[in-house]
């Protein structure tokens, strides 16, 4: 959407708002999120609470000259606008499908949202898993993970893998400020089990921990929402949207109970929390910049190869731009900021630092 005229942005915004609004009007959560995304991606300040409706055929006219990828991203913004609703009205999910069809996009995440609206939460998660993760996993080059035992799925730990654990442990010896040393410090400081150890994460999922360091996002639930919004949008394949859809289901609406890597936690709404729309939107914008520059799914990057390099150098290589002033003003913490840790992580960090509070 960058470089679009204000008139174009306004028309697209009107179409999205019309598609996602429940019968009694767009909700504040939806309006705030779509406003933040529009601002982060286009620089246009659109008030989603005061837009005139725009029909699906009119939106199709507006987007006629746009390529498939652009139109699919617009559909994903609509789906995002749906996924923050619980309950998700059947009419909204049907309308989004009508809009998607009108602009020539057949998208599996539209289908996932429709399943949520029907109450088919279990099927929705199976659909999301398959569409976003499993099919890709089956085709992916997994050599970058450096696992030496068979890993059966993207979220399977695969059991103990001492060679892999030793590789991660060796990051400790790398120079201060290097990617490897920084990710090791992140694990060590929070008491995380290393990949390859008996209770460690799956080597595939551990890829995202390098991105916590590279993109400088915390490891509490809000930080996870940020890092997966970033990762998902950095993926040139639209399937990357599955990450954000999953995190919202886990940490905002509770549509998803357990993924095998995270469990549902909606004690606090992590998307509608103050500042989170801006932080999430900035993560999407930063991910988009990486997508356009590096054109590679960040889960497929060989971080072990990059581990000795300085974090700054890796950021430059991937085209990672700094967080926006708005995201920083909304208190988006960095990877080593206490504010970016969960309460448990803080307690562990304090204990490891000698009991200082």
């Amino acid at each position: 959407m960058a470089g679009d005229t204000p008139e174009h942005v306004l028309l697209v915004s009107r179409g999205m708002a019309t598609a996602v609004a429940p019968d009694d009007g767009i909700t504040h959560v939806q309006a705030e999120l779509l406003h933040a995304i529009t601002l982060a991606l286009t620089g246009e300040d659109v008030n989603y609470l005061e837009l005139e409706p725009l029909g699906s055929d009119e939106l199709a006219d507006v987007l006629r000259e746009r390529d498939q990828t652009y139109r699919q991203r617009i559909v994903h913004h609509m789906v995002l606008g749906e996924l923050v609703l619980r309950p998700l009205p059947l009419e909204v999910s049907r309308r989004v499908e009508v809009y998607a069809t009108a602009i020539g996009v057949e998208d599996r995440f539209v289908r996932v949202a429709r399943r949520y609206a029907m109450g088919a939460y279990g099927l929705a998660w199976k659909d999301l898993q398959r569409s976003g993760f499993t099919e890709h996993w089956e085709q992916a080059d997994r050599s970058a993970l450096r696992a030496t035992v068979d890993v059966s799925g993207p979220f399977e730990g695969g059991g103990a893998d001492p060679e892999l654990e030793a590789k991660w442990e060796a990051f400790r010896e790398l120079p201060e400020g290097s990617l490897g040393r920084s990710v090791w410090q992140m694990y060590d400081g929070r008491g995380f089990a290393l990949p390859g150890s008996a209770h460690g994460p799956s080597p595939y999922l551990a890829q995202h921990d390098f991105v916590h360091v590279i993109a400088d996002y915390g490891t509490n639930l809000k930080g996870e929402v940020e890092v997966f919004a970033f990762l998902g949008r950095a993926d040139p394949d639209p399937k990357g949207f599955a990450w954000l859809a999953t995190l919202i289901g886990l940490f905002e609406t509770g549509y998803i109970e357990d993924t095998g890597f995270f469990e549902r936690d909606v004690r606090e709404h992590n998307v509608r929390a103050p500042g989170m729309s801006t932080r999430l939107a900035d993560a999407i914008a930063r991910g988009k910049a990486v997508c356009e520059y590096y054109e590679t799914d960040l889960f497929e990057v060989d971080y072990h190869e990059l581990a000795p390099r300085a974090v700054e150098e890796v950021r430059e290589m991937l085209g990672v731009v700094p967080k926006s002033a708005e995201a920083l003003a909304s208190d988006s913490p960095g990877i080593f900021d206490r504010a970016g840790m969960s309460e448990l992580q803080r307690r562990i960090a304090d204990a490891r630092a000698g009991g200082e509070a």
Binding site: L90, R114, R115, G119, A124, K126, D127
Partner: protein, 109 residues
């Protein structure tokens, strides 16, 4: 607006509950990658007072406000894959299944 769901129960006897689980899991996997139908999920319950007796509870919901959940279930019943599933069910149960059909009047949340 809340639409009325529809539930079909199938009471069966079986010495192979693991086969029943697999049958239902395979069905769900296929449904998850198929076009949206009214089917939204299943429970398999084992009767504590009558070992070997199981209750399959299949739920259906409205997809299109102009089509009721019971009609969605009827459409589902007419699909060849549903007929095939019913045939496979007979292979892992003893005797005939007993089908019952219910409209939902209340649900918690």
């Amino acid at each position: 607006m809340r639409y009325m769901n529809f539930t079909q129960t199938i009471t069966v006897r079986s010495e192979h509950p693991e086969e029943l689980v697999k049958l239902l899991d395979d069905w769900d996997r296929n449904q998850a990658s198929a076009d949206i139908m009214g089917y939204i999920g299943t429970h398999l319950l084992a009767d504590r007072e009558d070992p070997g007796s199981y209750l399959i509870v299949a739920e259906f919901a409205v997809v299109d406000p102009d089509v009721s959940a019971v009609d969605e279930a009827a459409r589902n019943n007419d699909r060849p894959e549903t007929q095939e599933w019913a045939r496979k069910l007979l292979e892992v149960i003893d005797g005939d299944p007993a089908y019952h059909h219910y409209d939902e009047l209340y649900r918690t949340g």
